[in-house]
């Protein structure tokens, strides 16, 4: 447990939370604004940034993009009083809705940047789903070249990128008419892979989700695990 001293006026509480269901449609920016208000409502003894417009200090690991759910989001908040993590968790949860809840809270001195790999579950509802399509998906993702069209900056032309080095592992199965994929993707800030690219790569290579009837074809992405460089659990 860290001691609060004048040189070290705060302790860092790490909060692991979920953001599921319809909250997948909330952008990271909106999440930050929402979390700010949750922390204030929860009356946590937060440390405010200095300056003209003080804000509680919150740092998020690997922001989620719109359309991805998660059961392993991490956020560090600085507190000026080391209240019990259980109490903090309970107060935060009272001020959140069902689709966003704190799963774990603990004090830490670790850095969020130790997070290197993220695990995702994809469920794909596609017209042509079958055992062999699942095999094709797996093979496509594990090959040496998995290409996608990427835009580096808005307005600029797209470039073709090979995302194979950013895919640590991938497994695909066919169950109940759906394709299930589990994959571990890079979360390294310099080579972060947005899981949407997996869908895009498979659309281009093996032809999933080609039926234009949008209400019938769909997919979901769930972030479900976080790891350090050596694939030990990040926490």
């Amino acid at each position: 447990m860290v001691q609060l001293t004048p040189n070290h006026p705060y302790v860092t509480l790490r909060v692991k939370f979920k953001k599921v269901g319809s909250l997948q449609y909330i952008s990271h920016l909106d999440l930050v604004r929402t979390m700010h208000k949750i922390i204030v409502r929860a009356k946590l003894p937060v440390w405010y940034t200095a300056g003209y417009n003080p804000k509680p200090k919150m740092i998020f690991a690997a922001p989620l993009s719109i359309g991805t759910e998660s059961v392993c989001e991490f956020m560090d908040i600085r507190l000026i009083d080391d209240i019990s993590p259980e109490l903090a968790k309970a107060r935060l949860n009272e001020n959140m809705t069902d689709e966003m809840q704190v799963l774990d809270a603990y004090y830490t001195e670790g850095k969020l940047t130790e997070l290197r790999w993220l695990e995702y579950d994809f469920i794909i509802c596609t017209d042509n789903a079958s055992d062999s399509l699942a095999d094709e998906c797996e093979r496509a993702l594990l090959s040496d070249s998995v290409t996608v069209e990427k835009k580096t900056k808005p307005g600029e032309p797209t470039v073709t990128t090979n995302i194979a080095p950013m895919i640590k592992s991938a497994r695909a199965t066919y169950r109940d008419g759906l394709i299930h994929i589990n994959a571990v993707l890079s979360a390294d800030p310099s080579s972060f892979l947005n899981p949407e690219y997996i869908i895009r790569a498979l659309r281009d290579s093996v032809g999933i989700l080609k039926n234009p009837r949008l209400t019938e074809e769909s997919y979901s992405i769930m972030r479900c695990g976080a790891y350090r460089e050596d694939m030990t659990d990040f926490r």
């Binding site: 269901g21 449609y25 999440l31 929402t34 208000k37």
Partner: protein, 616 residues
């Protein structure tokens, strides 16, 4: 594979999907089997705008305070979502339950600006509800309209079953109670209910009146169909605002909304009486809340929302008689809680060093003043009791205090306006720039910018200018051009509102029931979001008006005769016609009228309740 017909299946392919998900913290969920009346508050604009509306926030809270009523919210889907809904046959649903609107007992539309009419009716269409009241059946929800637009609801009267004139806090509950009791004792039919509702003060049932017209096209008379139906509808007023319900919790949006903060309504009404301003007349008399009540509410709201900003709102905040007490009281805890206070634009004559030092939004935000007219003569005509000296004094304080950008609001097309008044706008802006350069170099901030923003005057019902003709399109455009020519200083930016928008606004604001077919046609043609520049199409509006046989000039450039029956004469908004006429003749003599706080002018608003200490 079966088709999934709900919103969530299309959310991945529309812009800003977060506005459709609901599920917000503090939203109210009840069991639909345990309530007697399901009410849906419909806001005919986007979620981001609707969530910010104070009226909806208040009434959501009021209706849900009744255990027999469950009030939910509905917003208009943006164009991309509307297309998907039509393509996949998805019905418009309420945010809380996700149930289609046809399952509700009542839908209440908040009509804040005339250009939202088409959006409101599109929402009905998306819900599969007939837009004409006469086409609805026994079990269609009762469609209610309210908000500032209904002081002349005639153009849309036939689309609504019931109109709530005036403040809704009490009357909406009375309507629900009547509905519940008639359902319970078995006397309910749509017709019987509406007839009984017409006896509630502040309720207007358009279908219970017959309108006849003279040969020249003016209105002959409004005739109630039955003896028990009131000949005139009195607006509803909350007598004691300090005791009126005010939410202590707010539904917390996940996405950013327009006024994403705590909003404190400090008082209702206005003591001023600017002659062009409808709000200043129809919300009379002024009713203030006490600093204690306001401060307690603010604290509760802070604890229940976590917002870091409190905005004090009212028509003219500096006229609040206890502004200093209130701000002191609030500042005693807000700083420590890291909450900032903000005020809307201030009256020119109230801008002070003290306010600038105290209130962060005044300290850091841009400066906005509204002289409204360019010369003292015209400012006297419109009864905007501010002088050039007031303005110079205010900008001097502002520049010394480090502010460098000033926005000035004006209006074109005001009654008696000449080119001299237009030139006066440019002169005034120049003088503001001059005031900046008068300051010694060391004492002024760097880089001044003055923005002149000019809108077009729309003669609104229940103002002393209600009879005035609106300037023609040609004249307005010529004035805008002339002003552009007069502004030569590069430090002055100039922007203006489209005169074409104001013309359609005037038609909708001043129209009568004969406009309804044109509006219905517009809805059929897919008009929506007319209040958004990118969707407003003047030529299309002229086309539908023309096809429906409506001459826009009749409601705009013609002007209304002083003895003519006006479309809104069916409403009694408190302020009397005699008072409006008195004010009108004073306008033509360029004579001003003192504020209520200085002298009661006997406007008549006090007779409907809410009398304040100044009212005779």
């Amino acid at each position: 594979m079966s088709e999934i017909k709900n919103l969530s299946s299309v959310l991945k392919s529309v812009s800003k999907p977060g506005r459709y998900i609901g599920g917000e913290y503090n939203r109210i969920i009840k069991s639909k089997d345990e309530v007697k009346c399901r009410f849906a508050f419909c806001f005919p604009d986007t979620y981001e705008i609707g969530m910010s509306n104070l009226g909806v926030r208040i009434l959501y809270d009021v209706l849900n305070s009744d255990k027999d009523v469950w009030c939910e919210r509905v917003y208009a889907p943006w164009e991309d979502m509307k297309k998907k809904m039509e393509e996949y046959d998805i019905s418009l649903t309420a945010v809380e339950s996700g149930d289609p609107l046809t399952e509700f007992d009542m839908l209440g539309f908040s009509l804040q600006y005339e250009l939202c009419y088409t959006t409101a009716l599109q929402m009905l269409r998306l819900a599969g509800i007939p837009i004409w009241a006469r086409d609805r059946s026994e079990d269609t929800p009762i469609i209610i309209g309210g908000g500032p637009c209904v002081y002349n609801s005639e153009p849309i009267a036939e689309f609504f079953d019931l109109i709530n004139v005036g403040e809704g806090e009490e009357v909406l509950l009375e309507i629900c109670h009547l509905y519940n009791s008639m359902k319970e004792n078995g006397s309910y039919t749509r017709e019987a209910f509406l007839r009984a509702a017409s006896h509630i003060e502040g309720v207007y049932i358009p279908s219970l009146y017959e309108v006849s017209y003279n040969e020249d096209g003016t209105i002959r008379e409004y005739k109630p169909l039955y003896e028990d139906v009131p000949a005139k509808i009195k607006k509803r007023v909350i007598a004691d605002l300090d005791k009126a319900p005010y939410p202590t919790k707010l539904v917390m949006p996940y996405v950013e909304t327009v006024h994403d903060r705590i909003v404190l309504e400090v008082y209702r009404g206005c003591i001023r009486g600017c002659r062009f301003c409808q709000a200043g007349m129809v919300y009379r008399p002024i009713r203030e809340k006490s600093p204690e009540t306001l401060c307690n509410t603010a604290k509760c709201l802070f604890e229940n929302t976590g917002y870091d900003e409190i905005s004090l709102i009212s028509l003219s905040i500096s006229d609040y008689s206890e502004l200093r007490e209130l701000t002191d009281k609030l500042l005693s805890w807000t700083d420590e809680a890291h909450v900032s206070l903000s005020l809307p634009s201030l009256r020119i004559d109230s801008f002070s060093e003290e306010l600038m030092n105290k209130i962060s939004s005044v300290r850091t935000g841009g400066l906005t003043f509204a002289p409204e007219a360019g010369t003292q003569r015209l400012r006297d005509v419109i009864n905007k009791n501010v002088t050039e000296d007031d303005l110079m004094h205010a900008v001097d304080i502002a520049f010394r205090g480090g502010k460098s950008s000033v926005k000035l609001y004006f209006m074109n097309g005001l009654p008696t306006e000449t080119m001299e008044d237009i030139e006066g706008i440019a002169d005034l802006a120049k003088k503001v720039v001059g005031a900046y350069f008068k300051l010694p170099k060391g004492e002024r901030p760097r880089g001044i910018s003055v923005t002149v923003s000019v809108s077009c005057f729309v003669p609104k019902p229940f103002t002393p200018f209600q009879w005035e003709a609106q300037d023609s399109l040609e004249s307005l455009v010529e004035k805008q051009k002339h002003l552009r020519g007069c502004i030569t200083d590069r430090k002055i930016k100039y922007n203006y509102h489209e005169a074409k928008v104001s013309r359609i606004e005037a038609v909708l604001a001043r129209g009568d029931r004969r406009l309804a077919p044109a509006i219905a046609l517009a809805v059929e043609e897919g008009f929506m979001f007319d209040a958004w520049d990118e969707y407003f199409d003047y030529d299309k509006w002229i086309d539908v008006l023309d096809r429906a046989g409506v001459d826009p000039d009749f409601y705009t450039t013609r002007g209304f005769g002083l003895d003519e029956v006006l479309p809104w004469d069916i409403i009694d908004c408190g302020v009397t016609k005699q008072f409006l006429l008195r004010e009108r003749s004073k306008a033509y003599e360029a004579k001003t009228t003192p504020s209520c706080a200085e002298h009661c002018s006997g406007c008549g608003a006090n007779k409907l309740g809410g009398k304040n200490r100044w009212c005779n």
